[in-house]
Symmetry: D2
Subunit: 396 residues, 4 copies
């Protein structure tokens, strides 16, 4: 097992040295006051990263999937109606979870590569005079397609219909890398994990609840214990957990939020955009289409790249791994075999990204695609040279 | 925050250097074959530690509490009947979880300090001619009281009644430290976590399912997604997870099982008994009663020590932490304020244990208890000197 | 190989977690300005630890022995006269080095267990009207015998004779643990290493030169290149080294000086005294003599303990290692087989020390010495309980 | 300080994860038998890496410079005659050290960029009928110019003249990366350090002595103590050191030799050649001359690249560091300002190397050099794609 090359999967990301060290912590007593000095600032930091000044933050030893389940089981009851669009693998899975928990999901089928259909949402919400829809689900950044949707537009749809439904947003692959505005967008529950923008190992589900979402907890009938935020809130009141917390990982999360806030959120977002611009310049130079249907949908954390018809894109992932020791992301679901994905989030530099682009070129050439060696690299170099940025030291 | 002194809480334990390094792993692609080389041997190793040759092993990014929920939601439906005894905080919590998930729990109230009432179980099971009881819950080692129960006796009760109920065992604070016999005892689901006998940070729920438990999954109606073992099994078939796994922690688990099996399970158990014997010798020398009602109930991983009436045992924990930088376990639930607990599981030596005993003596003397300095240490030294063991290097 | 128990050798010491992490540093360019941000504050910090405001600090990839050689070769020429006392293994070795480098050493034989004979120095210096003696060597803390000498008295002897000889002090096992006053004592060269009071791995020779010592460099004829401080000084002027520096270890040194200065030097010294007092109380309780001849000579970093006549003290070291996994210091030179040594410097707590004392008791009892189990522990507990200190968190 | 990008300096190299962990070791007793289990295999491993079956291996807490001093002071006396060529900064410095130690060096001036002049050596040795020349110095790989010399040819020159002079070889930047044949080439002393082919932090001087060199130790008069191999040999006989050894770094060295031997030395050398070929292809594509005068002199660990007349090559290093966070090697001595150097030794992959090449292109373009973006990358990609190698996992 080699750890030499950076990874280019859409999370877990490359980890900063300092965060690895923060996670690698000897055992302390998680019931002692010292633990509060980790937990409290970590929750405060996340609140700031979410731009959710009034959000209640809960952190579970789990993953983003557990975060989804936290959102649903704490606010809904069997048979409750949910509105959602299926425009990629992760929105698909969240819908599937709703159905397995006995919720009634109105699914708006949406082509993969498109963003959330805020217009359709608006029509459906306007038509729902009886306010049967309890929750609207929204995947901010579809990790499978590299599509970022417009959450403000979804909020507008709700407001236009004067609809009281809660707005739940999956921000797993956007939060801490791209702009997210919990308060401004009127998000009721935001879900993310530790292994993407926070640059940590997987193992934490991070959720923010609005006041309105907190109120829904009282009446929700779906059974839950592990993910019950009432137990968690009771624990937090004593700087503790209802069960044994993963202290080192929480310590890492605390450091990660400090690191992000020290760099400045807008700088973090600009850095992701700069690196993404280079990747997109390379893809253009290769003459391959980006899966996201239009530039306004381009994700700054993941680019899914369509390969020519008849070519099995999965071979790129296998060949890159076995021949060059580099990991890219495979196509999932409807776009399996049709795209490969370059993750460009978390701890990454222009220079590291160039090595991923160079590798993709070698791999595609090896597999017979008509790619000129160095062409994507040159385009990305051009993009990075002219970005007007000096070297980012804050990311470490 | 000081990391100099060992901790004496009943988990998370002191961590071996090698396991910390195994957990502190750079990012790899969790969808690559390399991940299988971690996951497969980790699951095989756990199967051996459980002595459960036929058990299906599932590992969730969660905690022991999540392991309980995995057991219940994958095998039961709302309204199903469960038999359980409440003899400590952790059995209490599992019962509570059952009730919150809509199960009908027949609770056998049992004094804290006593083991599971296998005789009462036998009577109840024999009386349940209609086999309405679907599951019997058993807490192998009550972490709150330091009581180890006789699981073989519970199995015998089931067999004597020829009762088909499933046997679910909480082995969180026993597995990998004290003998556990999944196959021989006819356990249907065993639950544990990463942070006790496996000497790792918290963050993993580890569960073993018998063939009979696997069969129950097909008919269980309780909603679940994150903890659904069917998704997990499907993932494992491809050496993958249904969501992002905590790779470093799993790597640590793989190394932990290797370390335990290399030392030899019987040696691991003997080591825990040897260390526990020293602690118990010290407690006897102090003239304080052990919470566990009789020697056959003594746990080899935790000793709960009763302090004199009128004394608030919680002060021991606070004073030890603030004055000497040492963490002991607080009394919980019915024995809050009445006991303090010394955890003696995981990565620990005779020598480290002596420092915990010496600290407890200073603390109790500082707080006015009539404890002769050095008395418990001398008794433990005597015990360790005569244990006939040479220094255990395998534990590192 | 087990890393579970603390070590009780007189260095290398137990390492604080934070210093291990500071040393474990990825590769940087040691010719880049970043390196200066490590080197400059490290040198400044050492100057403060030495209380040598005017000292020039040099740090070599070497050990204390290399520090001695740096002192001699940079200031002396073959045939130069040196005054020294031999009162232990380390003063013996420095004398040996002088002789191997062609220096003419006037050796004052001194019983092991005694301090430096300042009175004899005074006589000899007064008699040296021609000022042939160029250097007086002084071992501040004899690691072999646990004897701390009075450097101020040596300075007084020089001043009384109005003698211009340079004063070279070996502070390897005192600096950063016991009070050292470079300026006040008129020290011309102080020598130490990374692995004692600085709590780091071995690998650095640390030396401070006075202005007078710097002047001697110009005329010194002993050949040197690796240890030539002129090359080093030239390098430092550019924040660089004349060869490749051990960057991680220097980073650790920088952090170590910060940690010590943050705690406060007087607090660091008091902490060492407090811990040493407990060890000495234990030795008294055992009824064994301390090697240092009188209390004013007691070292706060090492206690050498005499065992009864006819008993081979070396067996204690071997038995402690193989039976209990604990390392003590062996007797060296004239006291080989007659003493064993407990190192109590660096990163250590009262609680850790008690485990060393408890181990020594078991070992001595195992080997047939008439030691009452728990007796030394009780005496040390008594000492620690009444020290009036709350838990030291700064040492981490 | 960012640790994200790989370094491209000619040592210290990028470190494998496993070696960092091997070095980051808690304190053990360096006088215990455990230490022998580190020292013995480390020395054996180095012997194999040197292909010096009969070599005595000594490892000092020092650097390559200390290794040179070890070689000289253990075998020579003031006034002894030494033959050496000055063809770069490091041969220059070794000559300077000889002179500072009172040796009489016959210097063969050689253009920088050329290899050692074996023909001139042959003439001089043949003319030295009285065998006054005691030692011939040879720098195997000139780190300043990226020139590898032919040591077998120097041996041939000695043999042709039937000259008994010892052959001392500086292999600091070749050993463990390029083929080195201690026995076959009749090397008498080989010198290297920990921070190049062994991929560790700086801090160790590693030297191998032939039987003939060992014999010379008996008569050598140069003063030495720290570097005296007689003390070291005496220590090794007891698995110990004459002073405190840097245990963690030695543990890393032991692991490094295992890693190299597991991969297979010839595979290690081929890997370095493959990566170097890609760098050289890039340099050719840029149309810049390589400093080494002819392909037979090309080093597989460092490439020094001449920049156009009138351009200050030092700007490349500064700009790469501040604008892109990447470290290259500066020109030294006669070629200062005229070359920049790409280090390509140690823990490096094709993919990492491509990022260095891409960075160099951006830097040169930014500074106004006429370099086509992507041109060097494309040439290197072509080289790596056709190398017929699959991904090297052994280097981790």
């Amino acid at each position: 097992m080699s750890f030499q090359n950076p990874v280019f999967i859409p999370g877990p990301t490359n980890m900063p040295e300092s965060l690895r060290k923060a996670c690698d912590m000897p055992t302390i007593d998680h019931r002692s006051p010292v633990f509060g000095e980790i937990l409290r600032p970590a929750r405060d930091g996340i609140r700031k990263v979410l731009k959710g000044g009034k959000a209640e933050i809960f952190i579970f030893p789990s993953t983003g999937t557990g975060g989804w389940e936290t959102a649903l089981t704490n606010t809904l009851s069997a048979g409750d109606k949910v509105l959602a669009a299926r425009n990629g693998m992760f929105s698909h899975r969240w819908i599937d979870m709703c159905q397995r928990h006995g919720l009634d999901v109105q699914v708006v089928k949406t082509p993969w590569g498109q963003g959330l259909p805020a217009d359709r949402y608006a029509e459906i919400l306007a038509a729902d005079k009886g306010h049967e829809i309890k929750v609207v689900l929204a995947t901010h950044n579809e990790t499978a397609t590299g599509v970022r949707s417009d959450i403000a537009a979804v909020r507008k749809a709700l407001d236009a219909a004067d609809h009281p439904a809660l707005l739940f947003v999956d921000g797993v692959s956007s939060i801490a890398s791209m702009d997210f505005r919990f308060d401004e967008w009127g998000v009721d529950i935001a879900v993310t994990g530790s292994q993407k923008g926070f640059m940590l190992p997987a193992g934490l589900a991070i959720v923010g609840f609005s006041e309105k979402a907190m109120a829904a907890v009282e009446t929700a009938q779906l059974p839950r214990t592990f993910f019950d935020i009432r137990d968690m809130a009771k624990g937090y009141a004593n700087n503790a957990y209802p069960y044994t917390p993963p202290v080192g990982l929480l310590n890492g999360l605390n450091e990660a939020t400090k690191m992000l806030l020290d760099e400045g959120l807008e700088n973090v977002f600009a850095r992701h955009r700069r690196i993404a611009d280079g990747v997109r310049a390379a893809v253009n130079a290769w003459g391959l289409p980006i899966c996201a249907a239009s530039p306004d949908l381009y994700s700054d954390t993941i680019t899914a790249i369509r390969t020519p018809d008849g070519f099995d894109a999965t071979k790129i992932i296998t060949h890159a791994a076995t021949r060059y020791g580099v990991a890219f992301g495979v196509g999932l679901g409807e776009v399996a075999g049709k795209v490969f994905r370059i993750g460009h989030l978390g701890s990454l530099t222009d220079v590291m990204t160039l090595s991923g682009i160079a590798t993709a070129e070698m791999v595609m050439a090896d597999l017979g695609l008509d790619i000129e060696l160095g062409s994507g690299v040159a385009a990305a170099q051009d993009s990075y040279r002219n970005s007007g940025q000096s070297f980012q030291v804050a990311a470490e």
